[in-house]
């Protein structure tokens, strides 16, 4: 144990309270959705928590997404199990807080443009029903009953009542606020982790731009930057950024009632292609704006706006909801999904660097999966048997350094 860590330099920019303890049971790197959820469940387990955030609360991927809790885009498998589990955590463990983060159980409508695509949707629904997903086939003539403004030419659809949406920035901020009410919890914003403190192989704390802090456990919740933190412990976690844009309309009267997307979106989420993929994903928000996605491309952390991508997204949205053609786009934003080549999250203890835990790599599903992932991780950390087996997500599954240079 490093017993005499230097005190952090005093600075007026520490909003965490009068003093920040130099030691916590758990240090969480990142104040996004995953970091906030880990902090909350750690505090609920009675652990003291220090969150170290390079920017501000939710200033990375969490503020650049749509806040989806989806089961509709998943095939049977480990990710679906985690998704269904996380649904329960959102709807049961966190039921009383739903209003704080504008939780809306609005349901998802997946639509098909061709007969073939409609047949594929029906086949997918059969498999999903077997796996425990609630799904209803929607005939072409019934679609307008769900979405009166949608393109009338569609050939079929499937409705998923479990699909939901929340406001991810409020979610992260409130989970951290709630953590503070449960256990000593500090948040250091504008504080970059520059290294990990090691004792042999063991990770015992973090070095930051504000000084050193020691912790019984360190959770890497750095989103698309998770691989950088892992490298500080000389281990490889092959999380890569996969860029996406979202267009935001002017505030409108209720125009889109569910989360609506084209069947091809499922294929896009499951692909590993580095090149550009777009598929329309449209939904309204309580603020009245309509969010228009989606694009996926592997271009590193390049934030440069790409008009060809935005144009493609606009075309697909205008095709799916012709009523939006004349509406104004007020702004758009870019974000980076934490993409993992095997499309599974990285969740749990890293036996290659004892003391280091990972919570990330959920690609585009991180908001929905955050609550369940965090609860399972903390259960595992305090020695309880997790409600769901997390070994399929183990960080140890990556061979040493195999992705380090990608």
């Amino acid at each position: 144990m490093t017993s005499a860590l230097p005190l952090p330099p005093t600075t007026p920019r520490v909003p965490a309270g009068p003093t920040t303890a130099q030691r916590a049971d758990v240090i969480v790197i990142g104040a996004g959705a995953l970091g906030a959820a880990c902090a909350y469940f750690a505090a609920r387990a009675g652990l003291s928590v220090l969150i170290v955030e390079r920017g501000q609360i939710a200033s990375g991927t969490t503020s650049a997404c749509e806040g989806n809790l989806l089961v509709s885009d998943k095939e049977a498998g480990h990710e679906l199990d985690l998704s269904l589990y996380s649904q329960r955590v959102w709807r049961e463990d966190l039921a009383e807080f739903q209003r704080l983060w504008e939780f809306e159980s609005k349901g998802g409508l997946v639509v098909a443009r061709t007969e073939t695509s409609a047949a594929n949707l029906r086949d997918l629904a059969v498999r999903q029903r077997d796996a425990g997903i609630q799904v209803t086939d929607v005939a072409a003539e019934e679609i307008s009953g769900f979405e009166p403004n949608i393109n009338p030419e569609l050939r079929g659809a499937a409705f998923y009542p479990q699909d939901a949406q929340l406001q991810p920035i409020l979610m992260a901020a409130h989970l951290i606020r709630l953590a503070r009410t449960l256990s000593p919890t500090s948040l250091l914003t504008n504080t970059e982790v520059t290294g990990l403190i090691r004792e042999g192989d063991r990770v015992t704390g973090v070095r930051t731009s504000r000084g050193d802090y020691s912790g019984g456990a360190v959770i890497n919740a750095a989103g698309p930057w998770a691989s950088t933190i892992a490298q500080m412990a000389d281990v490889s976690v092959p999380v890569l950024p996969r860029r996406g844009f979202v267009l935001v309309t002017e505030p409108l009267p209720k125009t889109v009632f569910h989360k609506v997307y084209a069947g091809e979106y499922v294929a896009a989420t499951l692909s590993s292609d580095g090149g550009l993929q777009t598929s329309p994903v449209i939904e309204g928000t309580p603020a009245g704006t309509v969010l228009i996605g989606s694009s996926r491309e592997r271009v590193g952390f390049d934030r440069t706006s790409s008009l060809p991508v935005l144009r493609q997204m606009a075309r697909e949205a205008a095709d799916l909801f012709p009523v939006l053609r004349k509406k104004k786009i007020m702004r758009f934003y870019a974000g980076f999904r934490p993409y993992c080549p095997d499309h599974l999250p990285v969740l749990g203890h890293d036996s290659r660097a004892p003391g280091l835990w990972h919570a990330g790599g959920h690609e585009g599903a991180g908001i929905g999966l955050s609550a369940g992932s965090a609860k399972l991780l903390i259960q595992s950390m305090v020695g309880e048997r997790p409600d769901l087996d997390i070994t399929p997500f183990t960080p140890d599954r990556f061979a040493e350094n195999s992705y380090a240079d990608r």
Partner: protein, 487 residues
């Protein structure tokens, strides 16, 4: 026509106000092919906003200063347009700018029709430009006040635009409030058009002027202007109240009264000094906010100016830190129309010189002298007319900070104090101020100040940059985006 991919122009000038007009005609004088785009329907910008030129009036110059400067610039523009040197596009707004891909390739600038476009306007297109001069101007800075969302509360500049552009009175009985010399022409303009101006409320105590006389005397014309206004205030019996602010506005569906409150030396409202006056118009101006979206779109470096506005960093030829982009006018610091004209001309010379034309060194030195003296005057003015340090004292919990999204002061404080938002961007994404129609143009400054107040610190460029950075410089329809022609 701004149609699908026009030819490459030597220089694109954005804005046809004092700075942009000077830049465009100067560059054209030196042989550059210039495109001049402007959101307004005719040259002059906000400063020289005037009645529709298609229906001439005898007293076109009424209420204007430096009108001859405009008519000269306008004549030169006419000549250059006739000769095909300047392609002038009124009613046109830039919504997106793409940086050059290489050192020698052009900027791509995408435009759409502005709200003032003529019905026959060709709506959307793109321009390739080897160089850009940005002269985006500015607008009145606003601070929230209880009741400022009532009809009858207007920006001072809006009141003046109605007077200058449409010869329309915004009210019959007015109070003009805020800080800065711009309150004077607005009050005098209202009085001369027949309104009763109950008071000008100047928040500054103006003792600062004495300390900064050196700055003031460097620009003698400013002294002359001041004397004219002083005479007009006496003539129209307009009381000029220093260290006074309008701290509340009341009315049932429309402004009926305004509360005038004295401010102490630290800018705090003095309790017990409140006095209500009956008015139907409150015109507010707290200095100006430069329009910075295009400056940020080209990636130019910014800083905080002496009036706490975000402004662009430029060198002594108005070059920004973005390659082949020059900036002039309010966006480099608010200093009045004549300073903007000088900066515009210098930017035009800079672009011409960098493009290979020979330029007059003596003229460059003369312009730099004008700019230096005007900037010294502006700085003295900004120091004499600060935003009161404790303006938030007059807010109540339910005062709207963001009128578009109807976000109250209590909600902003909740985000800051309970949800750990200690920077403007976090306040914005948590409580939604600045997320609505105006995208933070009106409440950006106030939100940044409230966020910074938590730590009792000065504004940083980041605070304002995050409230004024816009992915789209102006909204664009989904179909404009979907039907966009790209190379």
């Amino acid at each position: 026509m701004v149609g699908p991919m026009s030819e490459t122009t030597d220089l694109l000038v954005v804005g046809a106000g004092p700075a942009g007009l000077a830049a465009a005609v100067t560059a054209a004088d030196h042989g550059l092919r210039v495109m001049l785009v402007d959101a307004g329907p005719q040259p002059g910008g906000q400063y020289w906003r005037h009645p529709d030129e298609r229906y001439p009036v005898a007293d076109e110059s009424a209420g204007h200063h430096g009108w001859k400067v405009l008519t000269k610039l306008r004549d030169r523009l006419r000549v250059h347009r006739g000769a095909g040197h300047i392609d002038y596009r009124p009613g046109t707004q830039v919504w997106f700018i793409e940086a050059p891909k290489t050192e020698s390739s052009p900027w791509y600038v995408y435009t759409t029709a502005s709200v003032e476009a003529q019905p026959d306007h060709v709506p959307t297109g793109s321009v390739r430009a080897m160089r850009i001069v940005l002269c985006p101007g500015g607008y009145d800075r606003q601070l929230p006040v209880p009741g400022w969302d009532l009809p009858g509360v207007m920006a001072a500049g809006g009141v003046q635009a109605l007077l200058k552009g449409s010869r329309t009175l915004a009210g019959r009985r007015a109070v003009v409030a805020g800080t800065g010399p711009f309150l004077l022409p607005v009050a005098v303009g209202l009085a001369e058009a027949g309104a009763e101006v109950v008071a000008i409320c100047e928040a500054g105590n103006l003792t600062g002027w004495a300390k900064n006389v050196t700055g003031a005397v460097q620009v003698p014309s400013k002294g002359v202007e001041g004397a004219e206004y002083a005479k007009a205030l006496v003539k129209h019996r307009i009381p000029y109240k220093t260290s006074t602010a309008v701290t509340r506005i009341d009315g049932d569906g429309q402004v009926q009264s305004a509360v005038l409150t004295a401010l102490d030396r630290r800018g705090r409202p003095r309790s017990g000094s409140e006095r209500a006056v009956e008015v139907d118009l409150v015109a507010f101006g707290w200095g100006f906010t430069p329009s910075m979206e295009l400056v940020q779109a080209v990636g130019a470096e910014t800083r905080i100016g002496s009036d706490e506005s975000l402004i662009a960093v430029v060198d002594d030829m108005q070059r920004s830190t973005a390659s082949r982009v020059y900036i002039a006018g309010e966006a480099t610091g608010v200093g009045g129309a004549m300073m903007a004209v000088a900066e515009g001309e210098l930017a035009g010379l800079g672009a011409a010189g960098d493009n290979g034309s020979s330029i007059d060194g003596a003229r460059v030195r003369k312009l730099r002298g004008i700019i230096r003296r005007s900037a010294a005057f502006a700085q003295a003015m900004h120091h004499a007319h600060p935003v009161p340090a404790r303006w938030t004292d007059w807010l109540t919990e339910d005062t709207l900070v963001c009128r578009c999204e109807e976000v109250t002061y209590a909600q902003v404080c909740h985000a800051r104090d309970d949800l750990s938002a200690d920077e403007a961007r976090s306040v914005k994404i948590l409580a939604r101020p600045g997320m609505g129609w105006c995208q933070g143009r009106v409440c950006g400054f106030a939100c940044a100040k409230i966020a910074a107040a938590n730590e009792d610190r000065d504004l940083s460029p980041d605070d304002l940059a995050r409230m004024s950075k816009r992915s789209l410089a102006t909204p664009v329809s989904l179909e404009d985006l979907a039907d966009l022609t790209l190379e």
